[in-house]
Amino acid sequence: MTLMRITSPHAHGPMSTSRVMQNVLLATIPGIIVLTHFFGFGTLVNIFWGSIVAVACEALALTLRRRPLGFYLKDYSALVTAFLLCIALPPYSPWWLIAVGIASAILLAKHLYGGLGYNPFNPAMAGYVILLISFPIQMTAWAPPRGVGELPGLLEALQACFVPSTFDAVTMATPLDLMKQNNSLLLEDLWAQNAQFGRWAGIGWEWANIAFLAGGAWLLYQRIFTWHAPVAMLASLSLMAALFYDGGSSASGGSPLFHLLSGATMFGAFFIVTDPVTSTVSVRGRLIYGALIGALIYIIRVRGNYPDAVAFAVLIMNFAAPFIDHYTQPRTYGHRDTRGEE
């Protein structure tokens, strides 16, 4: 005899970890399509190879830690890490670069800290930063966008990944690089002198950012995350850009729109900053967390030495997230403010 024990309205969470992760994977698709359209098959090959390495690393770590393989592999978190890292990597990266990045992300940044849910740093961004400081040349080699340079075909993309010594990479400075390197031009001249600038930012970059914005908006609609952190991040980045923008010279770091549609802004705002494990928990905490990331992105982009700043800004704020949470605990209903009095 089975007993039906249903009383009270039981609120049932329809979202399991694997459902959330699947949705995140789906939401990256528009961005990936746009990146592939403008920069060729490099990103797809990155993702293909990165996913294999990620699942292998995850399986290895789970075996070493004596955890059930099937259960944890099915949560798709390794695949999400692989997708996010491989989207951030330059297209046509060699296989060893991707493998080192994924292995650092999964083994060092995730499993050494205790696996999914215990990692203080976003694994994809930790892997990205490890690669960026270790292999600066390969990590800054972005292909020219469609219409500016020749796009390699699928075979050449595979060749670039798996037999890198036979592939002649064509690379070009990204709009963010150009904006940083030029301090004495009018923006109109900068736009006129360099073919990779588009209407608002770089060719390809602006549409990739809009595609990631669309994917993020869909995730928001699905209630995978709340709006606070991404909106705060985009707002503070725009505010910083507006404050320091002088209207027309390349010395001041570009307009707010340029920053919103350049580099990894939208990708970071909706796919990295919203990571539930490494970000803050409370609503006010999320606003602070996002806003500080936005401000840091602007500062590091304009004043720093690296091509983009999302990964560094996110890692720094990952570090600060527990601290922010401590000071933004919401008041428990029926209690007075207990912060700092325990």
Partner: protein, 237 residues
């Protein structure tokens, strides 16, 4: 104070109480100069020599110095020994002296040295004190060397580069290239690599310790052969 056996001293210095990976002393030079084998070897030698000198002197004067002023006296002795070693290196391995830079004079502040002086040499006679200095230096040095080798290998794909800094021009071709066309992995040579590799070495050591303990426990639980047991009822098959 009871004398300790040399065997126990060796075991302590090299494994059970290793200054680098158990006591976690002297981490600053451990992390800072282990980018290559030659740097690690240079600092390991210098530290070992200083340890032997200071342990010897401290053990000799242990009955003369009063307890109240012992720490300043020890520090003076250590500083003097470090200055001597520094001058020696300046004379015989000048390039290495320049590479090691501030970390040579900083041996003075290395906690291992004051720790062994106050914790061991001040209470034991000359022989064990010298041996303790030697073995603690070797224990520290072996971790430095292991770390240096790991970082150099993963960072540059080669081992024993620039050994001529320490062993004269004849050692210039000791460099062993294990992987040709290796893409330099900067992280291993930069400070974060030192932290990661030190953590991994400590983890491996703990793993080995846990294995040993498990095996010992298993041996202890095994009934002694021929032991009498109280038989309650029935038969034991």
């Amino acid at each position: 104070m009871a004398e300790v056996s040399y065997k126990e001293l060796s075991l302590n210095g090299l494994w059970k109480n290793n200054p680098a990976i158990v006591q976690l002393l002297g981490l600053c030079p451990l992390l800072a100069v282990t980018g290559s084998v030659v740097n690690a070897l240079g600092l390991a030698t210098a530290t070992t020599l200083v340890l032997i000198c200071t342990n010897t002197s401290v053990s000799l004067i242990r009955n003369i110095v009063s307890d109240a002023v012992r720490l300043p006296v020890f520090v003076m002795i250590i500083a003097a020994a470090v200055s001597c070693i520094e001058l020696l290196m300046q004379a015989f391995a000048y390039e290495l002296y320049q590479i090691l830079g501030i970390f040579l004079p900083l041996i003075t502040t290395n906690c291992i040295i004051l720790g062994r002086a106050d914790g061991f040499a001040a209470r034991h006679s000359l022989g064990p004190s010298i041996y303790d200095g030697l073995i603690m230096g070797v224990g520290f040095g072996s971790v430095l060397l292991l770390l240096g080798a790991l970082r150099e290998l993963s960072g540059t794909g080669a081992l024993f580069a620039n050994m001529d800094l320490l062993f004269g021009p004849g050692a210039a071709n000791w460099k062993v290239v294990l992987f040709a066309n290796y893409q330099p992995f900067l992280l291993a040579i930069l400070p974060p690599g030192a932290f990661i590799f030190t953590g991994l070495i400590i983890a491996v050591k703990n793993l080995i310790d846990a294995r040993i303990k498990k095996r010992q426990d298993a041996r202890k639980d095994r009934p002694v052969k021929g032991a009498k047991r109280v038989r309650v009822t029935g038969t034991i098959s």
